[in-house]
Amino acid sequence: MGMTDPLKGFGVTLSKMFKTVLTEEYPEVKKIPAPRFHGKHQLNRHPDGLEKCVGCELCAWACPADAIFVEGGTNTDDERYSPGERYGFDYQINYLRCIGCGLCIEACPTRALTMTNEYETADDNRQNLIYTKEDLLAPLLPGMEQPPHDMRLGDDEQDYYVNGPELARGQGVPAGATVETGDEEAVR
C-alpha cells in the first residue's frame, strides 16, 4: 500500500474520460436499432388506405409462440376494408408471448404484416400488451383514406397486388414520395 494508491483509483476514472462512452441515455435519447431489427409489428396499407391483410391466419399459424389471433371477415361492396373477398376482422398480437422471431412476417402472403423498429413494448399490465388491430395498423399517409371505402386504384385485388404503387403514382403522387406502408417505408 503506497502513498499514491488512492490516486490510482482516480487514474482509472481519468483514463476512462477519454474513451468512448458506452452508456445509453435511454429513454432521454432513443437508440436507433439496425434497419432489420425485429420490433413491433405493423399491419400495412395499400396506397389508398385499404388494408393489406386478408385475414388468412397464416401468420397466426406460423407463430411458434401462439401470440397472434386473427379472424377474417367478408368484405361487402358497402363495407370494404381490403381489396378482394376477405379482410382481417379481428387482429391481435400478444406481446407477452411474442418472441420477436419474425416467422409471421415470412408467412404473410400479402406483406400485410411487417415489423417496425419500434421496440418499446413494455407495460405495467397484461391487458395493454395485447395489441389490437387499431394499435397495429399503419398510420394513414397523405393520400390515404380511412377504410371502409371502395377500391380506388383498380377493379380488383390483382390490380393492387401487381402494380399498386404505379397506379397510385398515376393518380398524382410524385415519384419518390412514399405511396404505401411496408417495404417502401422501411427503405426510407
Binding site: 367478408t74 402472403p109 377493379d155
Partner: protein
C-alpha cells in the same frame, strides 16, 4: 381373407389360391386378390399407396387423372406403357411394379404431376383445401422439386357459383370427374358436367340448369383439390386449426355419422363421417350445412320465469326457475294433472327422462312426442311392429340393398330420409332392386330411384303406383299383380313414411300385405328423435323398451326397477298429443311440460296455440324462442346436440351414440334438467347424465311380456272430388322453413322452389295458364303458389308442406288427404313469379355474403370462348 404372405415366397408357392381369387405380385410381394379387384386396392391392402385423384372406392372407375400409373406385366409380357392401376383389374400371374420399385412408374407419375401443376394456381395460402389437400401432399411426395414451366398460367375468373352454396374455382380443378361421377352415379343429379376440350376443359353447369341437389356438399368433400368450396365455409378456417369430433346428425332419421370440425367453441363445418353400414361416406346438405341454429343470437342461455307484474319473461337463476317450475307442476299435478309433449328431436336418453318424469313425477301417461299429424292406428302399429326391432332382426340399410323389391308407401325417400334414398338408388342401380312408390306424382325421389340414366343403358325398374291422397290404404289391397309378385320374393321390403299417419287404415293394409307376400316392414319417420322416443316410452301406450302400459305384470316390473311402490304407475293409457292439447284448452289438464316442439308443426297449430295459452301452468325446455316459450311460465334452457352426448336411434333402430363435441359451455341436456326438476319435486329420476340413462335402459332389457295387438282398421275409400274441390297431397321438402335451418342463406338458396302441382285435367278445369298461381284454400286460409302441371291424379293438388308461403298446417289447418278448395290465382306480373327463382334469368347470384366476385367486373378477360361468364356454357352440354 387375402393377406400378404408373412414369411417369404416358399410358403406362398405351396399355398393353393383360394376359390375366386388370383395370385399376382406387386413390388415383389406375392398376394392373392379376389377376381376383379382393382390393382390400386390390392396394393393398398399391402400398404403400398399409389397416388391417385380420380379413384374413389364408391364411384365407378374412370381412369381420368392418370396419376396412378404403374408398370404391369401380364403373362410375362410387359405392357407397352404404364397402366392406370385404378382401372386395371388383377389377373393371375400379373406382375405389378409401382413407383416404389419401378423407375418407369415413378417417372410417369412425376410427369403427370408436372402436367397437372402447369396450370394449377399458386393458391395454397388462400385455398380452403390447403393443409388437407391430396394434390399438395402428392405433389410433395411424387412431384418434382421445382417447376420447368415458365410461361403464363391459364387462368379463369373465380369463383363461379354453381349454386348458392357451391362455388367452383376452375383453375384448381384437376378434371378428375369425381364430382360429376358422384352427381350422376350416386345422387342422380347430373347437373355438373365436363365442358370443353383440351386445355380449356373445365367443370361447369349446363345452361339454365343450376346445380340443384340435396347432396351437393359431398362433391366438396370428395374433390381432391380445393376446386369446389362452399359459400358457408369458404375462407373460414384452416384444417389444421380445427378440432374434429365424430358425431351423429340430428336432422333426420337416416342417422348419418358425421365429423364436426370446430374451433374456439364454434362449429366451422360438418363433414360426412364414414360408416359403411349406414351412410357409407355421404350425407345430405341439410346435415352438412345446417348447424348455425345452435349459435343463433336468440339462443336461450339463462332460465327465465314469467314476471308476475309485467307478464314478461325475465332471466333468473336456475334455483328460482326450478323452484317455480317444481311448485307450478306440483300444483297442476295435484289439481287436474299435467300433460307432457317432449317433441320428436330428442336423444333416446332425453326422451327416456321425459317418459320417466311423466310417470314418476307427474303420475300420468299423458305423454306423446309426435309433434306432427298422428293417429291411434300408428300408435298400435309402433307398439306391435316397430318397437324393439333393430338392424339385426329388422330391416336395415343392408337389407334394402339386397332386397329384390321395395315398396315405399306414402314416403318420399329423397325428401324425408336422404340416405335411404341414396341406398335405394344404389340398390336399383347395382343390384337390380325394383323400387315401387305408392304416391301421387313422379317426385324427384321417385324418378331417380326408378329411372337411372347413367353411362351405359338406362335402367328402368319399379315405378310409381299413383293413387289419390288418402287412398293409399285401399291401393295396398289392390296392388297390380306384378308388384305383389315382386314383393313376394324373399327379402322384399315395405317402407312406411311419416305421412301414413294421415291415411286411415294404411298400417293395417301394409301389415296385411306383408302377411300376404312375406315382405318385411320398416317405419321411416322424418325426425331424428322419433325412433328413440318410441323405444324410450314417450307414447301414451308404451313404457320404455316397448312395454305396454296396459300390462300389469310389465308395469310392476317397471315399478320395481324405478323404485316405486306397487300400483303407483298409472295404468290407463294416456291421451295422445291432440288429446293433451284439447284437454289443456278445456281445462281438463292444468299444466303442460313441453320440450323442443314448434306449434306450427302440429296438425292444428291454432288449437295448439289456444291450448298453450289456456294451460294453467306451462314449462318449456327450449333452445330458442318459439310459439311455446311465448306462453311459458318457466323456460329452462337446454343444450343443442353439439353440446351434449346421447344416442339417436335411426330408422333401423340402430343406436347412434355420440359424445359431447363442444365441452364446457355450461349447457345441460334435457335429462339433467328434468332430473334436477324432479329433485325439486322430491322425486329421484336418476337421469343426471345420458350415460346413467343409457345404463338404466340397458338394465331394463327388452319387453318381457307380449307385444300389444296390431291395429285393425279398414281402408276408407276415397273419391275424387269435382268442381272447385280437390284432394290435398302434401309432404315436406328436405330444405324448407324448418327452424333448424335458421341463418343458412346459402343452404336455403339450394332448396327446391315451392310450387303447387296439379294434373292437366285439373289445370284445364280451372283454366290455368302454365305457371299461373293456383289458390288452395280451406275455411282457415289460402295458399297461393305458382302451379306446375305434372302427371298426378285429376282432382288432386300437391303442396310442399312447409316451404316459403306454403305452410300447409299453419295456413290451411289440414294435411295430406284433406279436401281443399282450388281456384286459379291472378297471373303474376312478368318476372315476379312468386316462389320461383329464375335460374339464368338474372345475373348469377354473387358469392353469397360477399358481393364482390371477380366476375362482377365487366366483360371477362378470357371471353374468347364465352366461358368467362359464370361457367354457363352451352357448348359442351
Amino acid at each position: 381373407m387375402t393377406v400378404a404372405p408373412a414369411s417369404g415366397n416358399d410358403t406362398a408357392q405351396s399355398r393353393p389360391v383360394p376359390e375366386g381369387h388370383v395370385r399376382l405380385t406387386i413390388d415383389g410381394i406375392e398376394v392373392d386378390a379376389p377376381q376383379g379387384e382393382l390393382v390400386i386396392r390390392t396394393a393398398e391392402r399391402l400398404g403400398i399407396v399409389i397416388p391417385r385423384f380420380c379413384d374413389h372406392p364408391l364411384l365407378d372407375p374412370a381412369g381420368a387423372c392418370r396419376q396412378c400409373l404403374v408398370e404391369v406385366e401380364v403373362n410375362g409380357k410387359p405392357m407397352p406403357k404404364p397402366a392406370a392401376s385404378c382401372t386395371t383389374a388383377v389377373a393371375d400371374g400379373m406382375v405389378v411394379r409401382t413407383q416404389q420399385t419401378s423407375q418407369v412408374a415413378d417417372k410417369a407419375q412425376q410427369g403427370v404431376m408436372e402436367l397437372l401443376l402447369i396450370n394449377h394456381p399458386l393458391d395454397c395460402p388462400i385455398c380452403d383445401k390447403g393443409g388437407e389437400c391430396p394434390l399438395q401432399n402428392q405433389a410433395l411426395k411424387h412431384g418434382r422439386g421445382d417447376s420447368r414451366f415458365v410461361d403464363t398460367k391459364r387462368t379463369f375468373p373465380k369463383p363461379v357459383s354453381i349454386s348458392s352454396q357451391i362455388l367452383l374455382d376452375r383453375e384448381r380443378c384437376v378434371l378428375c370427374q369425381r364430382c360429376t361421377r358422384f352427381s350422376k352415379q350416386i345422387a342422380g343429379d347430373p347437373f355438373i358436367e365436363l365442358l370443353e376440350r383440351g386445355a380449356t376443359q373445365q367443370i361447369g353447369t349446363g345452361e339454365q340448369q343450376p346445380f340443384q341437389s340435396y347432396f351437393s356438399g359431398n362433391t366438396i368433400q370428395i374433390c381432391p383439390v380445393g376446386a369446389l368450396t362452399s359459400a358457408a365455409y369458404r375462407f373460414r378456417s384452416r384444417p389444421f386449426d380445427l378440432v374434429s369430433t365424430p358425431g351423429v346428425c340430428e336432422h333426420c332419421s337416416s342417422g348419418c355419422s358425421q365429423r364436426t370440425d370446430w374451433r374456439r367453441g364454434k362449429v366451422m363445418r360438418r363433414l360426412a363421417g364414414e360408416d359403411p353400414e349406414v351412410n357409407e361416406e355421404w350425407n345430405c346438405d341439410k346435415g352438412r350445412f345446417a348447424f348455425r341454429y345452435a349459435t343463433a343470437s336468440d339462443r336461450i342461455t339463462r332460465p327465465m320465469v314469467r314476471d308476475a307484474d309485467s307478464g314478461e319473461l325475465r332471466e333468473t337463476s336456475w334455483t328460482e326457475a326450478l323452484r317455480k317450475a317444481a311448485d307450478g307442476l306440483l300444483n297442476a299435478r295435484d289439481s287436474r294433472g299435467v300433460g307432457v309433449l317432449p317433441g320428436g328431436r330428442l336423444t333416446r336418453e332425453d326422451a327416456y327422462a321425459y317418459g320417466k318424469f311423466a310417470r314418476v313425477a307427474l303420475g300420468t301417461n299423458d305423454i306423446d312426442h309426435r309433434a306432427r299429424p298422428h293417429s291411434n292406428e300408428e300408435l298400435d302399429f309402433l307398439g306391435s311392429s316397430v318397437v324393439g326391432t333393430g338392424p339385426e332382426d329388422g330391416v336395415s340399410y343392408a337389407s334394402l340393398e339386397a332386397a329384390p323389391a321395395v315398396l315405399c308407401v306414402a314416403f318420399e325417400p329423397e325428401e324425408e330420409s336422404p340416405i335411404v334414398f341414396l341406398r335405394l338408388r344404389k340398390a336399383a342401380r347395382d343390384s337390380g332392386t325394383r323400387v315401387f312408390h305408392l304416391g301421387q306424382w313422379d317426385s324427384p325421389g321417385v324418378e331417380k330411384t326408378t329411372h337411372i340414366a347413367d353411362s351405359g343403358s338406362p335402367i328402368h325398374s319399379g315405378g310409381l303406383l299413383r293413387c289419390l291422397p288418402g287412398g293409399e290404404a285401399a291401393a295396398l289391397y289392390e296392388l297390380p299383380s306384378e308388384v305383389e309378385q315382386a314383393l313376394g320374393e324373399p327379402g322384399s321390403v315395405l317402407l312406411l313414411g311419416e305421412r301414413c299417419s294421415q291415411v286411415s287404415g294404411v298400417y293395417t293394409a301394409a301389415m296385411r300385405l306383408a302377411e300376404r307376400t312375406g315382405a318385411r316392414i320398416a317405419w321411416i319417420p322424418r325426425r331424428a328423435g322419433e325412433r328413440g322416443a318410441v323405444e324410450a316410452g314417450t307414447l301414451p301406450t308404451l313404457l320404455p323398451n316397448g312395454r305396454p302400459v296396459s300390462d300389469s305384470v310389465v308395469r310392476s316390473g317397471i315399478e320395481r326397477a324405478w323404485g316405486m311402490s306397487t300400483g303407483s304407475l298409472p295404468s290407463v293409457p294416456g291421451r295422445d298429443i291432440d288429446g293433451i292439447l284439447a284437454a289443456a284448452e278445456s281445462g281438463e289438464l292444468s299444466g303442460l311440460l313441453v320440450g323442443g316442439l314448434d306449434p306450427a308443426d302440429l296438425p292444428d297449430p291454432e288449437q295448439a296455440r289456444r291450448a298453450l295459452r289456456a294451460a294453467g301452468f306451462l314449462v318449456s325446455l327450449e333452445l330458442r324462442p318459439t310459439g311455446v316459450t311465448e306462453h311459458a311460465d318457466v323456460v329452462l334452457p337446454i343444450a343443442p346436440t353439439v353440446e351434449k352426448s346421447g344416442t339417436f336411434l335411426n330408422w333401423e333402430g340402430r343406436p347412434r351414440e355420440f359424445e359431447i363435441t363442444i365441452e364446457g359451455t355450461g349447457a345441460v341436456p334435457d335429462c339433467r334438467v328434468l332430473d334436477t326438476l324432479a329433485v325439486e319435486m322430491d322425486v329421484d329420476l336418476f337421469t343426471q347424465t345420458p350415460q346413467a340413462v343409457a345404463a338404466e335402459i340397458r338394465r331394463l332389457g327388452p319387453n318381457p311380456g307380449a307385444r300389444p295387438k296390431p291395429p285393425d282398421i279398414p281402408a276408407e275409400p276415397v273419391t275424387e272430388p269435382s268442381g272447385d274441390r280437390a284432394l290435398l297431397a302434401s309432404w315436406r321438402h328436405l330444405l324448407d322453413n324448418g327452424s333448424m335451418q335458421h341463418d343458412e342463406p346459402n343452404l336455403a338458396g339450394t332448396a327446391r322452389p315451392p310450387v303447387a302441382r296439379v294434373s292437366h285435367g285439373t289445370a284445364r278445369r280451372l283454366g290455368l295458364e302454365p305457371h299461373q298461381p293456383i289458390r288452395v284454400s280451406t275455411e282457415r286460409g289460402t295458399i297461393a303458389l305458382e302451379s306446375e302441371v305434372v302427371e298426378i291424379p285429376d282432382g288432386v293438388v300437391w303442396l310442399p308442406g312447409n316451404s316459403g308461403p306454403a305452410e300447409v298446417n299453419e295456413v290451411l289447418g289440414v294435411g295430406h288427404g284433406a279436401v281443399v278448395g282450388i281456384a286459379a290465382g291472378t297471373a303474376p306480373a312478368p318476372g315476379t313469379t312468386p316462389g320461383q327463382r329464375e335460374p339464368g334469368g338474372e345475373e348469377l347470384p354473387a358469392v353469397a355474403g360477399n358481393g364482390h366476385t371477380s366476375n362482377g367486373h365487366g366483360p371477362p378477360a378470357h371471353g374468347s370462348n364465352g366461358n368467362g361468364q359464370a361457367g354457363i356454357d352451352g357448348g359442351g352440354a
